[in-house]
Structures are given as C-alpha cells and as structure tokens.
C-alpha cells in the first residue's frame, strides 16, 4: 500500500514538474486535470481502505467531488475563460524552462532536507508522500511566480490547493469531512471569482498579463 | 568714605592728563611741539560752556547716554583702588568685585553704542558695530586674566588681588603674571581705542570707532563722553600698575603714607602713559579685520596664563 501511495504521490510531483515545464496556457490546464485525476485516484485508494476497515464512505464522496470539480468542471471553466479572452503571442514565463525545472527540483530537494529533519518523519511510511506533497505546494507557488498570465496564476493556485489537499490526504487520510467540504466550497467560489476577475481584467487592460498590473506601487 | 572721595577726585582729576601725556609723547616723536599736556582740561572746560546742537532724530537715549556712560564708568572706577594702601583697599567699594566692575563698564558701553545709533547717522551705527565686535572679542581674555589673578589671591575682589600683588616681591616676574600683563596691555589698547586698534586722533570714517559713536555730540554732552573715555582708560591703567607694578616697600603710616602712595601712583600711571605713547608711535593701526587676530592672541595668552598658574604657580 505504502509503495503504491509513494508512487502516486511521486507522479503528482512529477506532474508539477511537467506543469513548470509547460509553455502554453492550455497545456497548464491539461496538466492540472491530470494532476487532479491522480489525486482522485489516491483518494479512491484511501476510500477503499476505509471502506474495508470500517465501512465509511467519506473518502468516496470526496473522490467524487474531486473528479467532478477538479477534473471536469474547473478545467472546463478555465478552458472557456481562456477561449473568451484575447491573446497576444508573447512569452508567458520568466527565465527559461530548464532553469525553471531545475529550480523546482531544488525546491523539492530542499523540502526533503527539511521534512526529514522533523522527528516524527524519521521513518514513517508517509514521509515520502508528505515530502512530495509539500513540494507540490511550494512548486505551485513557484509556478505562480514564474507565470505572467492570469490563467497561469489560477492554475498555480489550484496546484497549491491540490498540494495541501494531497498533504492532508496522504498524511492524515483526510480531514474531518466538514472541513473538506468547506475547502471545496471555498475553492469553487474562489475559482469562480478568479475567473470572473480574469474577464474584468481582460476588459480593462486588454490583456490578462498580470505583469501589467503594476500601478499600485509603494 | 574719605578714600572713596579721594578716589573720585584722583581718577577724574588725573584722567585727562594721561591723554595729554600720550599726545605729547607722540608730538615729540614727530618733532612737533604739540599741545600742552593739560590741553584736554582746557577742551573739557570749554566744551562745558558751549551750546549744544542736538539732532532732530535723537531721543531721550541720546540725552541720557552721556550721563549714564559717565556715571557708570566712574562707578566702575570706585571698584578699582588707586593705591594699594591697606585703608584704601579695605574701603574699596564692595571689595571691588571684578565681575561687577566688568558689567558696570558694560552698562556704559551699552548706552554708548545705543547713542551711536540714536541719531540715525551712518557714522554712529558704524562706530557702534565696530565697538561691539572689539569689546566682545576682548571680554573673554579680560575675564580669564582677572580670574587667574583672582585665583592667585583666592578672591575675585580687585582689592584682594592688589593686596596679593603687593605681597609678592616682584609679581611681574611670575610667569602667569607676565602673560596676563601682556593680555591686559592689549585690553587697554583696545578698550581705550588706541593704536593699533583705533586711532583717536583721526576722523576718517574708515578707521574710527569711538569717535564715530560720539560724532553727533557737542557741548557738555561731548565733554562728559570724552571725560568718561579717559576715566575708563585710567582705571584700566590703574588696574595694570597696581596688579603688576605694586609698591612693594612699606609706606609710612597716616596721611603722609597716603600722600606718598598717591604720588607714587600718579608717577606710575604717567610712566604707563608714556609707555603707551611709545607703543602708539611704534605701531601702525591694524586693518579693522585684523583686530580679531590680536584678540585671538590675547585669548590664547590669557588661557596660557591660566594654565601656567596651574602648572607652575600653585
């Protein structure tokens, strides 16, 4: 079981690397879809275990929510948004891809160094998974830092959310259900609001390049 | 009381003579016959009897100034015993406090400078301005000098300082005293508007200081001003002779002693006047803005005298 989980978490991490290496906005969304699917997969695995152990189906509900929201609805929404805003052909990221991936790798190594220092993580079977998920969170932020377009930032934010959700899932086998549901509501509203704002930004600035939002200095 | 009256008579009586002597010395050096040494007495009595011309612009300050200047200068004179006899020293007004002496003179100077400004004439203002600079530059040196002498005698009273000097065999040979002596000579020259600081004989606006301030005065007011100036000169001379060249031998008691002391005093101040006359002859007037250098020298010397007193004198 642990090995299986380790592999999936590693895949999730890898999908983050892929995300950082992506160049086009549409492929961000695709990668995100894949990553969410991987999380749903692991949620399902945990769900099976829970069901076997004490017949609870919390995890299945969550799994369904993930698939519904993160694998289907939100990526579609983002795609629609993407279609509706104007596009100019321009580089969407700072630095270049190899350096970005290297830095992302560096973050993962750093997290490994830090997390293994925590007493409780010395030799527990979830260590690897926690390391991967925390890395996903930080790489998500890193992704947001490096992307100029608003869509990229939304995706980055979603990856961060994936990461924290993943951490909760792998490390603690999920939070209390009510918390998880709350998170989903927040996430959904957040993405809706962000999507709405992307339109408005596009309206006012004729672009969704957030690098142009620089009027409020000092 | 008798001493105070004597003091008044001697100071006011002798003061114009000093000017006469100095002028005579200068005349002699220039191979002139020159006026009589008593010329200033004639001038003053003549001026006393003349009518006055007062500027329309002038206010009561102008009228009051001669009296205040004269009054305060003579009051300051009461603080400086002319003869270092015991009775005289003891009766010196308030022990002759050196600080009161300095600040009483300052009262006179204050009114003198105001009077210069009162008529609205440019000369007066110029004189006041210059007088202000010179007097303030020399004030610290004078103070340190008096402080040092005071420390040697343990008191700031001028009569105590004189008593101390009298007690010393030849005070001027004491290093601190020599230095302070030089300082006092510089102060004397500057305060009484003599060459090299000011030339009392000229009425050229570029150089005048004291004469410029009293330019508008005439008649008895002028007489009082001139008299006050010479009194001031004499009291500083008195200070010098009694501090640095005291009568170190014992005088006979009683009236004879006093008379002898007065005579000796007159002789010494006259000698000093001759000396000043010679200094005036030998030097040229400094450019006005070189006067601060002289003052700086005086200040440094005074400080040096003070240190000397501490390192060597105690």
């Amino acid at each position: 079981m642990t090995t299986y989980m380790d592999i999936i978490s590693l895949l999730i991490l890898v999908s983050s690397f892929v995300l950082v290496a992506n160049k086009k906005q549409t492929s961000y969304i695709k990668t995100f879809r894949i990553q969410s699917f991987l999380i749903a997969l692991s949620m399902a695995a945990i769900g099976f275990r829970h069901f076997q152990q004490n017949g609870r189906i919390d995890a299945f509900i969550l799994c369904a929510l993930i698939i519904g929201l993160k694998v289907i609805y939100i990526p579609n929404l983002l795609n629609k948004t993407y279609d509706k805003v104007e596009h100019k052909v321009e580089k969407d990221f700072y630095l270049n891809i190899p350096i970005l991936t290297l830095l992302a790798c560096g973050i993962a190594v750093f997290v490994y160094f830090i997390v293994t220092g925590i007493g409780q993580f010395d030799n527990r079977d979830i260590t690897m998974q926690v390391v991967n998920m925390v890395s996903v969170v930080l790489i998500g932020i890193f992704f947001m830092i490096t992307r100029k377009k608003a869509i990229g930032q939304i995706v980055g934010f979603l990856v961060v959310e994936n990461g924290i959700f993943g951490t909760a899932m792998f490390a603690a086998e999920g939070m209390p259900l009510i918390v998880d549901i709350g998170i989903f509501i927040d996430l959904l509203t957040g993405v809706l609001i962000m999507g709405l704002m992307v339109f408005r930004i596009n309206d006012k600035f004729d672009s969704i390049n957030t690098n142009k939002l620089k009027k409020l200095k000092g | 009381m008798i001493y105070i009256i004597l003091q008044l008579i001697i100071i006011i009586g002798l003061a114009p003579l000093m000017n006469g002597i100095i002028r005579k010395i200068k005349a002699i050096s220039q191979k002139r016959k020159g006026a009589s040494v008593f010329q200033m007495y004639y001038d003053i009595s003549k001026l006393m009897r003349k009518d006055m011309v007062v500027s329309d612009t002038a206010s009561w300050i102008y009228t009051a100034a001669p009296y205040v200047v004269f009054g305060s200068t003579v009051a300051a004179a009461l603080l400086v015993p002319v003869c270092a006899t015991e009775g005289w020293l003891n009766s010196a007004f308030m022990g002759g406090d050196a600080l009161v002496f300095l600040y009483t003179l300052a009262l006179g100077r204050f009114f003198l400078m105001l009077a210069g400004l009162d008529t609205g004439s440019t000369f007066g203002g110029m004189g006041s301005s210059r007088e202000g600079l010179i007097s303030s530059l020399l004030e610290p040196s004078m103070l340190i000098g008096l402080f040092t002498l005071g420390l040697a005698s343990g008191s700031l009273s001028i009569s105590r300082m004189m008593a101390e000097s009298t007690a010393k065999a030849v005070p001027v040979l004491n290093p601190a005293y020599i230095v302070i002596f030089i300082v006092m000579i510089i102060v004397l020259l500057a305060e009484t508007c003599r060459i090299p600081v000011d030339d009392p004989a000229t009425h050229l606006e570029l150089t005048m200081v004291h004469e410029a301030m009293i330019l508008e005065y005439s008649g008895r007011q002028l007489a009082l001003m001139e008299l006050a100036a010479s009194v001031k000169q004499l009291i500083i001379m008195t200070l010098i002779v009694n501090m640095f060249f005291p009568i170190t031998f014992a005088l006979p008691a009683g009236a004879a002693g006093v008379a002898l002391a007065i005579l000796l005093y007159a002789a010494r101040v006259m000698l000093l006047s001759v000396l000043i006359g010679i200094v005036e002859v030998c030097t040229v007037k400094l450019r006005f803005f070189s006067v601060p250098n002289l003052a700086a020298i005086a200040f440094i010397l005074a400080l040096f005298g003070f240190v000397n007193y501490f390192v060597l004198g105690r």
Binding site: M144, G190, R200, K215 | -
Partner: protein, 491 residues
Amino acid sequence: MKFIYLAVPVVIVILLLFIKKRKFIYELGISASLLEMLITLSITADAVSGGQASFKMSLGIFYLDSFSIIVLDIITILGFLIHIFSVGYMERDCKSGKIDEKQVRLFFILLNAFIFTMILSVSVKNMGIMWVAIEATTLASVFLVGFYNKRESLEAAWKYIIICSVGIAMAFLGIVFLHLSSTGVLTHEHQFLNFTDLTVNAANLDSSMLKFAFMFILVGFGTKVGFAPLHTWLPAAHSQAPSPVSAMLSGVLLNSAMYGIIRTFTIVNINLGNSVFAGRLMIFFGIFSIAIAAIVILTQREYKSLLAYSSIEHMGIIALAVGIFTPASVFAGLMHIINHSFTKSMLFLSTGSILQKYHTAKISRIKGILKTMPVSGTVFILGLLAIAGTPPFGIFACEWNVLLSIFNEHHFVTGSIAAVLFAVIFAGIVHCLFSMFYGETPETIEPGEPNKSGAVVLIVLFVIVLAAGLYMPDFLFNLLSNASDVIMGEI
C-alpha cells in the same frame, strides 16, 4: 441559542437578494447590524456578569471564550457603526453617479457576507473550519475591494485574492501538520483540530511537528494579518477599497486572522514550555513589520495607503506583545487589538469623507481640511495623533504597556528599537499627512460635511478612542485579563 447571531447576517444576505429599494436596504442593513451588536453585547454582558465559568460557551463546533468574545464584539460594534457610515457614503456615491442602485445592493450583500465570515471564524473551535471561514473572508471581500471596478481597484482586488489565497493555503498546510502532531493524542474524531482539545493536551503533542505547523500557520494567517514581508496586498487593497470597507479590513479583518495565529501560538508555547521558538518568530515579524512600515511611511503619497502601513505597524505591535508572552504583555496586546480597531476604523471612515469631498487620494492635492470639514478634519487629525501613540488616547496606553512588558522581560534592545520606530512613524505621519489639514480650501470645493450621519459615527468613535486612553471599566479589565489567561493557556 446564543449562537443565533451567526444567523443574522445570513438572513440579511438572503433578504437583501430580494429587496430592490435603496431605503429598505439601508434600514434593513442598519437594524440588522444593530440587532447583531445587541446580541453579542448581551452575550458579553452575560459572560462578564456570570463570572469565571460562563466565559466559555460551546455548542457543537461553535465555541466562545473571552478572547473570542473580544474579537466578536469588535466585529459587531464596528459592523454596526460602519453600516451607518456606509449608508451615508453609498448614498452620496450613488447621487454623484459613481455607482448605480444595483451596486448599492451588492455592497450591502457583500458587507454582510463579509461580516458573517468573520464572526464565523472567531466562533468556531475547529481550526479547519476557522481556516475555511478566514479563506471565505477573502472571497467575500474581494469584490468589495474591487468595488469601483476601475483599473486600480481591479488590480488591488486581483493581488488581494491571489496573495491571500496562496498565503492562506500555507496556513492549511500548517493545520494539517497540527493535526498530524496530535495523532495518537486526540483519539475521537470530533476532537480533531479543535484548539480547545489541542490546548488541553498541548503538552503531549509532537513538538517538532508542532513547530513546523506553527511556522506554516504563521506565514499563512500572517499574510492575512499583514506581517512584513507578506503584507504586500494590504496597502493596495486598503487604498482602493471604498473607505467603509477599508475600515472593515483594517479594523476587523486583520484581527480575525491574528486570532488564528494567537490560538496556535498558545498551543505551541504550552507544548514547548517556553516562548523562545515561537515567541522569537512573533517578535521578529513584529519588529520587522514595524520597521518596514516606519521606513515606508516616511515617503507616502497617498493617505489611505499610509494608513494601511500604519495597520501593518500595529499588527506588528500586537505580534510583538503576544510574542513576549507574559500575562502583562498579552494583556497589553489584547488592549491594543481593541484600540487599534476603533482608532483605525475611525481614521479610514474619515478618509471616506475626505475622499468624497476632494475626489483624490493624493496627499499633495489636498489642502485645508480643517476649514472645509471641521468635524471629519478634527477627528482625523486627532485620530492620527492617537494612532501615532500620543497621549491621552487609547493607543498610547497600549503602547506604554506593551513597551513596559517588553522592557520587563529585559528585551532592552527590542524595546528601544520599537520605541524609536514608533517615533519615526509619528514623524512620517506628521510629515506626510499634516499638510492636508492646513491652508486655504481650494475654491472648487464647498465647505461642509459630505456625510452627516457619518460625522456622528466619527464623533462616537472618537469618544471611544479618547475614553479608552483615560479609563478602563472593571468589566473590560476582567474580560481582558480572562482573555489573556486564555491565551496564556488556561483554557
């Protein structure tokens, strides 16, 4: 039944969805917020009069103790006052054609939603739900920040939502670790993540995990609180939001985020047995925030962002006070929370009047406020002195106590730096802002208060601020000392 106050804003939001008339909207908003305030005040009164035991009340996931009551009271009292002010403010905006009727309704809906999320965040004991509520505060207020739909406000709103969401995400990571640290200690699922249970069992939690958790929570909620260098959204959002919203953000929202940090801080400190690890972090962030604010305030050009920096400073002071972690310092920190909320809301509300009169946010374009608006102007200038820590206002009393408690722990250098920085901030405020008050009113501007009911609110707030510096009633003292006991770990 006590938790009924939670329902009030929800009901209002629903009702407002169906009400079209402006007048009704106003009346409903004011009366509902008044009701809310009265309920919470009655809870407070009960708690205060009932003695030690009744300070805590619990119902399912809901939970109130004296600390939460303090923050809750601040929210509802300011909620009420800001409602009154907003009515005048919106009316004027509406009349001048800046916004339309629909937007007025939207404003009140969002305002009430915002209030709801905040009161929710301080009324629960489950850290997870608290997190959800705090995240929701961002979502509820983001359109309030971008209310005017201009380029700048949109920019501010975007930065606000992105930075706060990311920051808050960190806090969730922290909460996960908090949860992990309690594995094996808290066995029942309904105990999971409850800070009450965590505090009770704090000594048994896993220390290294807890440190990790605290650090993430500090960064996460710290973003919302506005600790430098995570404060970056704050000046932008405060300067672009309508003034009542700025008042709400600065006076109320920051406190709820701070509430989350302090709750965790208690657990960590009990667990670690001393305040070195977490306290040092808090002190560092406190001083760093004060320093950044002090430096930046010196050359501010816009009055609202200057006030935003001042909020950063004051959050820093609170962090500093709590970070010292002695009963006296915590007490002072709590006092500071209250005083800062009232003073800062007062200031932001007065900027509302100024903005509506002068139509500019630039300091250099404003002259003669004291002549134009005697009430707002006087309140504003005295409020600025108050916020800069001048006696006899409330903030001074707090700063005095905070500094005293710092020095009492022999943190001489920290205390001295803080004191000097306060003076620098004072200098910055005077240097930058005071020129607005003097001189002649420009001819284009007619004298008079733009918002009459708002002026009354300002005076009320001013009286509170002044009174807070001169007198503290016994019940408040009890409440505060009880709350500081709570923070010190006696839960």
